[in-house]
Symmetry: C2
Subunit: 464 residues, 2 copies
């Protein structure tokens, strides 16, 4: 994997940034290198300079300086994105937002919170623990909430609580000209104007820089119960999920691990699970409610050959039970030491999920490297983890071909090329296939209207 | 109330439309008059011509003809909007979408449905009854689903099921140049591109014409239970709501009627309710779940003096119990024969709701005409119904002043000027107060980018 050589930043730009931020401006090679890469296989591109503002006003001033010098602007949180979102494809200024780290307002009665963009989801949940409230969205990584909003993140409990789309109430955004807007009030609903909140959620820094996020919170459930159950086949597992959702069981998480992944976690963490397609469940509610959900789901699963339930209710037991799910990525990587994960991320209508996964498993069975599969199956979303040698061009080519085939299959099933990992520069070329040229023209028109000089994270999302 | 005189449509435009649609083009005075008015107090403006296309392709062709002649385009559903959305302020062509009346695809396993824009919510629910699924959003009127999407409608059970924002999965939209886009695939979630679905939901025909809507459906609950309970004060009622939601009780509806409205419904329908602030509840779930919700809510209400619960579970009994809520508008109108309802629609964070309602009730107590209040209090949304003489200019002026005060109060409490009635031309001037000029500039930039000639429902939402 190549890394682009460093460029020298424009001295006048650097001078203006230094006047504003002093030592919170860096051109150190290590800092630039770190800020040009995410956790994916995509080629990193270091920015020319990295700045560390501490307030919305400082971000706005940075944007104004960049606009004056025609320098690209790339927002950066924890660097845990997966489609090359933070790569400085044309150089420019990376705005590291992690020093915007304040929880600004917790409104317990309204069950909402306003944070600066650099607060991570775990820090938020630690901060509000005593209120009896929590923020549910869990993409795996302890990502910044600004980054999660910018990429429309979701994860394991979107099936119950929704994605960032449903859980962001309002944003503070610095526009391309340095002006600052608030996209919405704190009211739970509104029909007053275009939905700017949803326009910026998932816009990946291409329309503006998110500096504050107002989020919905939820009451910590009185009871939480977890379960694991293996199934005779993928189809049986997925049919259990479909029936569970149709029955209206408000399951909080419902995750599928395939036989390969179960075998991998057994080896990785000395588990002794049956090496069959397995569902991981989590139920939230009252004591009685959780008991009823558990009973219903066992009843449904039994119809599909799922009878070997393991249950846990105490926090430490639940953690142990879910450990296999949390270990899935590292366990899969351990299947092939030195391998890198090339992760696909399609999402289809749940009625097509069995077919989509089964055909995909037939595809990957023919590959010369191992692959594992995990799914947020309640949403129809699954990841194929291709374990490639990152130095082997032929394997990269094969992974790319398989990734393309998986996307084409999902699109043919009325699905999406990206369930939760976003577009960045990695998925950009799939968007016209998914949405059609006219819809891409609409996206491009919006981009041009809000960022006429194409300085906001250029080269991502849509080609201008 | 004045009505604008009819204009003669451009003969060349009329000829082109007639070539396309034959007798499905009307310039009859009664048809034009009906299509220029909604159910509000806002002045109607008849369009020059009304067309009745029967497919997306015909709508696209109509839009292309209008674009060629520079004629404004106003989409029309059931005409039940409340902020002058359908008024042809600059004349032009009204597109009546009610002949796009097909249910196109019911996907039971995926719990979604695709309908043409003219299908109403009641027709949809009749159509899908045998599937065990239903569509919950209920704005009161039997509105078209295209219109509900276009205005981001909600209503009594948004507290549990969300608004049209959360329940539209995808839209088919005719753009200003006549091209047709699909905003999203049917996958439950996606992070692939700007959220065009949410951009068009609530855009009120100003960015394009919605011709098809894909909606989330829900399982018809195994059990439904309804209850009514009076409270000593507004504050007690609202505090009961706050505690109910914080406890995570998944109440399906929770509606507040004030003392005036309770008195009005008693008179109107010979009820015998205590004339005090009263909450109307509906619970959805399993038998056990509904019983537990009911128990929890009674426990909470008792802490706030709410002890006189009336319960109903059989459908006819539930209908009877909720009749008072459904009658609220007509019962209020009957307080003053000949009066017209001037309805406000603010929504505030729920922690401010008691204060907002109490101050509003003090305001209206001084008025020379009666007013009633109903609230979707789970969302922080309430309506003050001012019963004015529509011929009395002084009363209209007073109502306008009070409406302005209510909006200003809601905005000062971080609320919105429009919880669910939209903007149209009635609320347009409040948007800069709510969102700030820079955010309005963003909306205007989006409008100009998608509708450069300002032909899509001009004069609504934002001034161009």
């Amino acid at each position: 994997m190549t890394v682009e050589p460093f460029r020298e930043p424009n001295p006048a730009l650097l001078a203006d940034l230094t006047t504003l931020l002093g030592e919170r401006v860096s051109t150190a090679a290590a800092v630039r290198e770190q800020h040009g890469r995410d956790e994916s296989y995509h080629q990193p591109f270091p920015p020319d300079v990295v700045v560390f503002p501490e307030s919305t006003e400082e971000v706005a001033e940075v944007v104004r300086i960049c606009a004056a010098h025609g320098a690209p602007i790339i927002p950066f949180g924890t660097g845990t994105s997966l489609e090359g979102h933070v790569a400085a494809l044309s150089g420019g200024v990376c705005i590291d937002l992690m020093r915007l780290d304040k929880v600004l307002a917790v409104n317990v009665d309204d069950m909402d919170v306003t944070v600066q963009a650099g607060v991570t989801r775990k820090r938020l949940n630690d901060y509000i623990r005593d209120t009896g409230l929590f923020f549910p969205i869990d993409p795996g990584a302890d990502a910044s909430l600004g980054g999660m909003a910018a990429t429309r993140a979701s994860g394991t409990n979107a099936v119950r609580y929704g994605t960032m789309r449903e859980n962001v109430l309002a944003l503070t955004v610095v526009l391309a000209d340095g002006r600052v807007i608030r996209t919405s009030r704190r009211a739970r609903k509104s029909s007053a104007g275009y939905d700017l909140t949803r326009l910026f959620v998932g816009s990946e820094g291409t329309l503006g820089v998110i500096t504050e996020v107002t989020l919905r919170l939820y009451g910590i459930p009185e009871a939480i119960s977890s379960a694991v159950c293996p199934f005779p086949s993928l189809e049986d597992a997925v049919n259990t999920v479909i029936a569970t959702i149709q029955m209206g069981v408000p399951v909080a998480r419902i995750e599928l691990l395939d036989d390969v992944t179960m075998s991998a976690v057994n080896r990785y963490a000395k588990f002794d699970y049956p090496e069959r397609p397995t569902l991981f469940f989590e139920f939230h509610g009252t004591d009685k409610g959780v008991a009823e959900q558990a009973e219903l789901v066992q009843h449904i699963a039994a119809d599909f050959g799922g009878t070997e339930f393991l249950w846990a209710t105490r926090p430490e037991d639940r953690s142990r039970l879910w450990q296999a799910r949390h270990d899935a990525l590292y366990a899969s990587l351990a299947l092939r030491p030195g391998a890198k994960a090339w992760t696909t991320d399609v999402c289809v209508p749940i009625s097509r999920l069995t077919e989509c996964i089964s055909e995909t498993k037939r595809d990957v069975a023919a590959l010369p490297f191992p692959s594992a599969m995990v799914g947020h199956v309640g949403d129809g979303n699954f990841h194929t983890v291709l374990l490639i040698d990152p130095e082997n061009a032929a394997e990269i080519e094969l992974a790319k071909d398989i990734g393309d085939r998986i996307v084409e299959r999902a699109l043919a099933m009325d699905g999406t090329c990206s369930g939760e990992h976003g577009v960045g520069y990695g998925k950009m070329d799939f968007l016209p296939l998914e949405h059609g040229e006219a819809a891409i023209d609409v996206m491009r028109a919006v981009k041009k209207a809000l960022d006429p000089d194409n300085l906001m994270n250029p080269g991502k999302m849509v080609r201008v």
